[in-house]
């Protein structure tokens, strides 16, 4: 199902992999903004919740020399035949025609995890445990984002709460269109090298549209036809070559448990 609209926006990102140092600031900013709880003691790489996750990819020639790239990966906001939406039995996945953002509705989710199986980017996470914050820390949660309980799936939604805040600000000023400077996801705001550019891909005057359309940017697993709204850029050909391979080739360096 196409998600473009004559009047709708298509929010997307372009991420410069040559600027990413794998510092993890985006991951932390995302977790704080979206009330993702700290890991339970039993949580592992497979059972943790990281809406934004940085993977390390290595181009190793076997002698130790080689190149390393850090790849921030979040929900790619697929724009065509959104896999997770097409399999959800609960209508808990909704693609907003006005923004193109793939939203997750925890209240409808029954935790079947079919969407996690369908997602080719492993960008969906299941709440295996009820969220727990150290005593008193829950007072510092972001009131614009509802915490989730165990048994539901969650994922990146391009900081939907910030979109609502931008809309409210525009409405108070008597405008219908939001100011792009007012809607900046937490990961974009926090990146120390400004590796992530965000904006409306449908706005030809936007920086993100120019970068996404200049022929230098690429998408991961583009051959699946999901038309993700997250693009990547790099001067390193081996990274581009890995973008079409199976996800397991893009290994995260594991502390296997």
């Amino acid at each position: 199902m196409e998600q473009t609209s004559q009047q709708g926006a298509r929010y997307g990102m372009v991420i410069d992999l040559d600027r990413c140092t794998g510092c993890g600031a985006c991951m932390m900013a995302c977790a704080v903004e979206n009330n993702v709880p700290p890991a339970a003691m039993k949580a592992t790489e497979r059972t943790g919740i990281t809406w934004m996750r940085v993977y390390e990819a290595r181009n190793d020639n076997g002698n130790g020399a080689g190149d390393t790239a850090y790849i921030p990966m979040m929900c790619q906001q697929c724009g065509h035949d959104t896999p997770c939406m097409s399999v959800c039995p609960q209508n808990a996945v909704d693609v907003d025609p006005a923004t193109g953002i793939v939203g997750q509705i925890p209240q409808r989710c029954l935790g079947c995890r079919y969407c996690m199986t369908a997602c080719p980017y492993h960008a969906r996470y299941f709440n295996w445990w009820d969220p727990e914050w150290p005593d008193g820390m829950e007072a510092m949660l972001n009131p614009d984002v509802a915490p989730r309980m165990r048994g539901v799936v969650e994922k990146c939604n391009f900081c939907h709460g910030r979109l609502h805040e931008a809309k409210a600000k525009a409405a108070l000023a008597g405008k219908t269109a939001i100011d792009p400077a007012d809607y900046v996801p937490a990961c974009v705001e926090s990146c120390p090298t400004q590796a992530i550019v965000f904006g409306d891909l449908a706005d030809p005057s936007s920086n993100v549209a120019a970068l996404a359309g200049d022929g230098e940017s690429f998408q991961f697993l583009a051959k699946l036809g999901t038309r993700p709204k997250v693009y990547y850029r790099t001067e390193r050909s081996w990274v581009k070559a890995s973008a079409d391979g199976p996800a397991r080739k893009m290994e995260s360096v594991t502390a296997a448990k």
Binding site: V32, P38, A39, A43, G48, R58, L141, S190, T254
Partner: protein
């Protein structure tokens, strides 16, 4: 009336139907729904007006400015301050979750005594008054004179106004020591300052127009210095024509991101530095201005010409062609050479630091931009009635009666073994000031709880290597917690208990106000105002009140650069002895601890940092052993396996992570946080890995001989 079975069935059926048609089951469902929505686990969110407040992170020496989004006076998120001239709008993962530290699960509620006789020290609550009475008695004895014992303060963020108060306090004792760790990111500038024939004053590293950054082990792209400024250089490196060269054994973040990585044999930084110096001399790449700044230059040249490049290659594993290429590169255009420390691996030895610092002198005289520059001192820097700073490792062993460990962290591990070694055997006492149960605090005898970040007014630290001084306030975002004062209030109470003269300023506000007034009176520098993203010259401010007002609104003062080039000359202390290096025994392995700045323990980081450690392996957990696949195979190990590392001092189980970029024969073991919940307030984590490494007399513990086998 006779009741038969049919009647009973009719009664039961009718009753069931009747109940369904009554409100009872629906009331039960409603109550259940309300009950499930009000479980204790359901978090209660903040309410109230949304405001933006400015402050600064104090978790390490970088002191990054931040803006906090507060809901009803509760900070719910923090971010960097855009366009900030010092910190460039960046905030690291620790800073992004720094507002959580006031509610850390390892937060101390009251003073405790540590019984360190077991592997994990036992924590016992104690009363504050008797503790201060005992400390006061020690001070009274120490004040009486020689032999009563030396009083010391260990300060990991020297240069603050509080640091000056400590030094003034210590000046009142006949035997006292103001101690700083040897690795505070000023290894290069400290070495140069020590070599100067006349004290040039504070020095820093200026990256203006630099084309090459040659780093020996410093995490320049992973938290060193002012991270925001370094990340900006990294982002713009192509446009600036800037290259990074890293000399390091481990495949660190900086090594991986650098344009050239010299993967050296462990402990051969000095050899490589000598090799580069040899090429600079042989190929006459040292400019005349640099030659003039070095006294005894011919003697130095003679020493350098004794360096055997082929031996350097053999020992370091770096081909001579590569050493020559590096030398030529750093001589072509402005370059800066930095000696650094691993946050958990400790510093390089003093002689190695000297040789690395020397490379800066061979490239250009100090004082020019794009290299080592003089930095104007803080306007209130006192030279009289203060204890001079000395490095912890230079204190004679078993000489200290009392050590007070200030709460501020540098982001770099201090060896608990080194700290304890300095204490008198029978009656030496260590008192740590800390808000959480950190491993270093757990190595003390007593811990006095202090305020967590953002609970009280504090001074923002600034990078020791900065080219210019700066000053701003870390403004409170949380309400004060009863019983957790700031370190100055501890000092005030301690001096009262010990019948010592009180510090001149008795509150942090008055202490910081004094510094601010001195800065305003100097009329130096400019103030950045984050709310308007503008700067104003201090000379244009009407009064000290106006300056203080700007600081309280999140302003940051930056000093002017020192314009006049240094006329100081330098004398290099030519070493008399050859360095000896131990080699791993057959079947043995070289153990090198490592860590990430500011995140070497659970108590240092918010529990939500599990995203990077436990839930994704972006960073290594405590006890992860990075090892080359061939080395792992040679010891019967595989990726993910538990292994046992043993040294002459003990054993520790680690988890293997194979990395093809690691050097054969070396195991890098992470000193870091443990999985959430593993460290508890009653059972504090200790630096188990560091206890396997012997801390040498020069304060280093980078390399230890070890064995490794299946666990």
């Amino acid at each position: 009336m006779d009741l038969n079975r049919r009647d009973l069935l009719k009664l039961a059926g009718g009753s069931a139907l009747g109940v369904i048609l009554s409100p009872l089951p629906w009331k039960l469902l409603d109550d259940s729904a309300i009950w499930t929505q009000n479980w204790s686990i359901t978090p209660k969110l903040a309410h109230g007006p949304v405001t933006l407040r400015y402050s600064a992170c104090t978790l390490c020496s970088a002191g990054c400015a931040l803006q906090a989004r507060c809901v009803g006076n509760v900070p719910v998120a923090v971010a960097g301050v855009p366009a900030h001239p010092v910190t460039r709008g960046a905030l690291c993962p620790l800073g992004l979750s720094s507002h959580h530290m006031s509610r850390h699960p390892l937060r101390l509620a009251g003073p405790v005594r540590i019984d360190g006789t077991s592997d994990r020290g036992r924590v016992e609550p104690v009363e504050m008054d008797p503790t201060f009475a005992a400390l006061g008695e020690i001070l009274r004895s120490a004040g009486k004179g020689i032999g009563a014992g030396t009083i010391a303060v260990l300060d990991r963020q020297p240069g603050r106004a509080l640091s000056m108060a400590y030094r003034q306090f210590l000046a009142g004792f006949p035997e006292a020591a103001y101690l700083v760790p040897s690795h505070l990111e000023d290894e290069t500038t400290s070495a140069l300052r020590a070599m100067a024939t006349a004290d040039p004053g504070p020095m820093g590293v200026d990256f203006t127009d630099v084309k090459t950054v040659l780093s020996f082990g410093a995490p320049v792209l992973d938290g060193w210095g002012t991270p925001g400024a370094m990340m900006e250089l990294f982002k713009e490196r192509r446009r600036l024509g800037l290259r990074f060269i890293q000399v390091e054994t481990r495949p660190s973040r900086t090594a991986i991101a650098s344009d050239r990585w010299l993967r050296i044999v462990p402990g051969t930084e000095r050899e490589v530095a000598w090799g580069i110096a040899r090429v600079l001399i042989d190929e006459k790449l040292v400019p005349p201005s640099a030659i003039r700044s070095i006294t005894d230059y011919p003697l130095l040249v003679k020493k350098i010409q004794e360096v055997d490049i082929s031996r350097v290659t053999t020992e370091s594993g770096i081909p001579s062609a590569e050493i020559a290429a590096v030398a030529r590169e750093i001589s072509r255009a402005p370059a800066v050479v930095i000696a650094g420390s691993d946050p958990a691996g400790g510093s390089l030895d003093p002689e190695t630091r000297n040789v690395i610092a020397l490379l800066n002198l061979l490239l250009a005289p100090s004082g020019s931009t794009g290299g080592i520059v003089r930095r104007g001192p803080m306007p209130d820097a006192l030279k009289e009635n203060v204890r001079p700073a000395m490095s912890l490792d230079t204190v004679p062993d078993h000489s200290l009666r009392l050590m007070i460990v200030d709460s501020a962290e540098s982001g770099y591990v201090v060896s608990p073994e080194m700290m304890r070694r300095k204490m008198r055997r029978n009656d030496g006492q260590i008192v740590a000031l800390s808000s959480t149960l950190t491993p270093l605090a757990a190595a003390a005898d007593f811990i006095i709880p202090v305020a967590a970040p953002f609970e009280k007014l504090d001074e923002t630290p600034h990078a020791p290597s900065a080219a210019r001084e700066s000053f701003s306030l870390s403004l409170p975002l949380h309400p004060e917690r009863p019983g957790a004062g700031d370190p100055l209030s501890f000092l005030v109470r301690l001096t009262a208990a010990g019948d010592r003269p009180l510090p001149e300023a008795t509150t942090m506000e008055s202490l910081l106000r004094r510094r601010a007034d001195a800065i305003q009176a100097s009329r130096r520098g400019r103030v950045y105002l984050p709310s308007s993203r503008s700067t104003v010259a201090v000379a244009d401010l009407a009064s000290a009140e106006e300056f203080w007002g700007h600081l309280q609104a999140g302003g940051c003062w930056m000093d002017d650069p020192v314009k006049s080039p240094s006329r100081v000359t330098f004398r290099f202390p030519v070493p008399q002895e050859e360095q000896t290096r131990a080699a791993a025994a057959d079947g043995g392995i070289i153990l090198m601890p490592f860590g990430w700045k500011g995140a070497t323990a659970s108590a240092h980081v918010s529990p939500i940092m599990s995203k990077l450690f436990q839930e994704s392996a972006v960073r290594d957990l405590d006890g992860i052993a990075v090892i080359a696949p061939a080395t792992a195979a040679a010891h019967g190990l595989e990726d993910g396996m538990i292994a046992r590392i043993a040294t002459a001092r003990g054993k520790k189980d680690v988890r293997v992570r194979c990395d093809a970029a690691a050097r054969d024969g070396v195991v890098h073991v992470c000193v870091g946080p443990r999985p959430n919940g593993e460290d508890t307030p009653s059972s504090p984590a200790t630096d188990e890995l560091l206890s396997l490494c012997e801390t040498a007399n020069d304060g280093t513990w980078r390399i230890t001989m070890a064995t490794i086998e299946k666990g």
